[in-house]
């Protein structure tokens, strides 16, 4: 099966990738500045909402309900979309989805396609597949364009070029747009993108989009965006193809009232993003004459089968957990080796790949809980991380030395006598490393700690020893 989450299958383990990125001071500054800005904006607009927690709770319930009856809602969506003039295709995996898309474009004799930001097509590696088939994809979201023109990889779900600053972007645009001159003012860079893409919007006859929501009740698709490139891609071409994961369906049009309040505030810290487009099949005299939807599984049904982590599929791709995460803040998105980075990436990527790859990702978290706190659909990411770690332990993934240490500790903690004995032993073993009351240069796994920090030496008397003395051994 061709499950693929960007490059994750071949990416180095998280600690190794992170170590390299931590040395890139510019990248870290860019990521910190961007996430600080977006967090502050989000906090301000979320504070305006007296019913934020109620909206979160409702969103979670709607998503959980939808997943329970996912087969029903997908079929209902298909029936209603078809009735409205759309055509629905089903794809078991990435390759099947790409094949369907390429077939549709080639059958209409098209050699170019304009694309609005879609994580799902990044997941399936659609652009590479299109290029291999002789079709040129044009990314039209400003950040995606920066990534595509810079031959780079996305580092954030919502702001894929968040790791780039203005002067880096200027360099890329000058080179790829063949401009004589260009300042690094964000206004001018944005203006350059407008000029570069306008001609393509008006000329290219095939459009490609993802979907934020697919409404079963009406067969409609909703795309949430800011720049107007999304409206261009879903309105102007003659043929439109929309690819989405099966979990993107919601039961009713009414449910949008919940998600359209949560998503913009969580994603970009806006009360409402500049544009939402909702369309239903094809409409005479307005928009594409042909409309196709590709419903993608690509292992989502395997995630669905695990009751303890199923809610991973609730995700509406707002990126709030990335911005809140202390780990992401240090490394940026590339360390995750997947287009899905940050906390949601740490649970989504390994599950989409059935844990075959990205096994280091569930450990890329201090479990601080900031992700869960900001998640607009209340995905308990820390719980799922722990669950995935447990699956990895069951499969024998952690190194032997760790498993042995855990076993020793569990024996020590089995009773008071074994614990006292272990404490004595630890105290005895520490003397070679002790200097002025601090432990340094500890061996093995613990070396990771003492490379950066001291560890206070174990005091001579434990609390329980003190208590025994104090009570003369009278207490229980």
């Amino acid at each position: 099966m061709s499950v693929r989450v960007g490059e994750a299958a071949h990416a180095p383990a998280f600690p190794k990738a992170a170590k390299r990125l931590l040395e890139n001071a510019q990248l870290r500054r860019n990521v910190r500045r961007a996430t600080d800005t977006i967090r502050a904006k989000r906090a301000k607009v979320v504070a305006e909402m007296a019913d934020w927690q109620e909206l979160r709770a409702a969103a979670h319930e709607i998503k959980e309900h939808t997943l329970r009856y996912l087969d029903f809602y997908l079929e209902r969506f298909e029936a209603n979309c078809t009735r409205a003039g759309g055509q629905v295709h089903w794809a078991r995996d990435a390759d099947e989805a790409n094949r369907i898309a390429i077939g549709l474009i080639q059958a209409r004799g098209q050699r170019e396609v304009i694309k609005v930001k879609t994580m799902t097509s990044d997941e399936t590696g659609l652009n590479r597949a299109l290029e291999a088939a002789g079709i040129t994809p044009h990314e039209t979201d400003l950040a995606d364009m920066i990534v595509q023109l810079g031959e780079d990889k996305p580092s954030h779900i919502v702001v894929p070029a968040l790791h780039r600053n203005r002067s880096e972007i200027r360099e890329i645009f000058l080179r790829k747009m063949k401009l004589a001159e260009l300042s690094d003012r964000p206004e001018d860079l944005t203006g350059a993108a407008r000029g570069y893409l306008r001609e393509k919007f008006l000329r290219v006859k095939a459009g490609f989009s993802g979907a934020n929501f697919a409404i079963a009740e009406t067969g409609s698709i909703c795309v949430v965006e800011s720049e107007g490139n999304g409206r261009m891609c879903v309105t102007l071409p003659e043929i439109l193809i929309t690819m989405l994961g099966v979990e993107k369906v919601i039961p009713t049009f009414r449910d949008l009232e919940v998600f359209l309040q949560l998503l913009p505030r969580s994603a970009t810290g806006e009360r409402m993003n500049p544009y939402n487009s909702i369309w239903t099949g094809v409409s005479a005299g307005d928009g594409p004459r042909e409309f196709h939807v590709i419903l993608l599984d690509n292992n989502r049904t395997a995630v669905l089968a695990d009751a303890e982590s199923r809610e991973t599929l609730d995700c509406i791709r707002c990126g709030a957990c990335l911005n809140a995460c202390p780990v992401y803040r240090q490394t940026g998105g590339h360390a995750y080796g997947s287009i899905y980075s940050g906390p949601i990436g740490a649970i989504l990527s390994p599950q989409l790949q059935s844990m075959d790859h990205s096994k280091s990702l569930p450990y890329a978290s201090s479990l601080c809980g900031a992700c869960y706190e900001v998640c607009p659909v209340k995905i308990n990411i820390p719980e799922i991380l722990i669950h995935l770690r447990a699956k990895l332990v069951e499969s024998g993934y952690p190194p032997l030395v760790e498993r042995a240490a855990m076993k020793v500790a569990s024996v020590a903690f089995s009773g008071a006598d074994s614990l006292a004995a272990a404490q004595g032993l630890a105290r005895l073993c520490q003397w070679p490393f002790e200097h002025d009351g601090q432990l340094r240069n500890l061996p093995g796994l613990l070396g990771g700690w003492t490379d950066f920090r001291d560890l206070a030496a174990i005091p001579k008397e434990s609390f329980r020893d003190w208590w025994s003395k104090r009570t003369g051994g009278q207490d229980e």
Binding site: F14, P15, A18, L22, P326, V327, R329, Q330, T331, P362, Y363, S365, S366, L367, C368, G369, A370, Y372, E373, I386, L388, R389, A390, K391, L392, V393, P398, M406, K407, A409, S410, F413, S414, G415, A416, L419, Q423, A426, L445, L446, G448, W449, D451, F452, R453, D454, L455, A456, I458, P459, E461, S462, F463, R464, D465, W466, W467, S468, D475, E476
Partner: protein
């Protein structure tokens, strides 16, 4: 007056006995009887959070057995309380043991983190402490996001005579400890820590306090390596100090 049973937690027992002594001192000063059940060991948090749930289960059983009939359990570690509240019920469910689940449900409401115990259960914010130093407070992730402890530790510190409290910038940001995370992802953990240490140093406080010694072990480890001269103290040690004694 309830008898307060102290669950010292495994790492405080061995590494931070002064915290336990301070808890005893504060509670006894307030007129409460404190007991220590010698059979206690560990809540199982490290094993559980690292994925060793099979190993954590007997520790949870042991905890329930030891404290089952305790009136009130005081725990000077927010993350251990979070382990007990958030995970014990699920562990019992997963084991399919209804009577265990019942025992957990009966026990959990009687388990309090130290500052919660003082403010919520005992209704005190002024414990009669004296601590003439400048202090900043790291909020500890499990305390704020799992226990929803809010400003309880801050309110306790506000009533300490002689203290000068300084807000910690970005105080709700993780210190990067995360248990085995600090070892498995030592580089990232250290990077997060260095921001936390910068914030602490920015306050120019003499002492960095928290309700969880695991955060303080982490922050203090870096401060010590940098010879920064800032001490890390569990909030109990500050609350235990009086004009006549305690931490100076």
């Amino acid at each position: 007056m309830p008898v307060i049973s102290l669950f010292i937690t495994c790492y405080n027992d061995m590494l931070f006995p002064e915290t336990g002594k301070a808890v005893v001192r504060v509670l006894e000063r307030l007129g409460h009887a404190v007991e220590f059940r010698r059979q206690q060991t560990c809540c199982g948090q490290m094993h559980y959070n690292t994925g060793y749930q099979r190993d954590a289960f007997p520790m949870m059983l042991h905890f329930v057995k030891v404290f089952r009939d305790a009136e009130t359990v005081c725990v000077p570690s927010a993350s251990c309380v979070a382990m007990i509240r958030d995970h014990f019920p699920k562990m019992a469910d997963r084991a399919g043991d209804a009577s265990l689940r019942k025992a957990v449900d009966e026990l959990v409401p009687r388990v309090f983190e130290f500052s919660e115990l003082l403010t919520d259960r005992l209704g005190v914010t002024d414990v009669g402490a004296f601590f003439p130093h400048s202090v900043t407070l790291h909020t500890s992730c499990h305390a704020i996001r799992s226990l929803h402890i809010g400003d309880k530790p801050w309110r306790l510190l506000e009533h300490v005579r002689g203290i000068r409290l300084v807000e910690l910038p970005r105080r709700d940001q993780c210190c990067g400890f995360g248990g085995t995370f600090a070892i498995k992802n030592a580089d990232v953990s250290a990077a997060i820590l260095s921001e936390k240490v910068e914030s602490v140093l920015d306050t120019q406080a003499e002492v960095c306090a928290a309700v969880d010694n695991s955060c303080l072990m982490h922050i203090g480890g870096a401060l010590s390596r940098q010879k920064a001269g800032v001490r890390c103290l569990h909030i109990a040690e500050i609350l235990a100090s009086t004009e006549s004694g305690g931490v100076q």
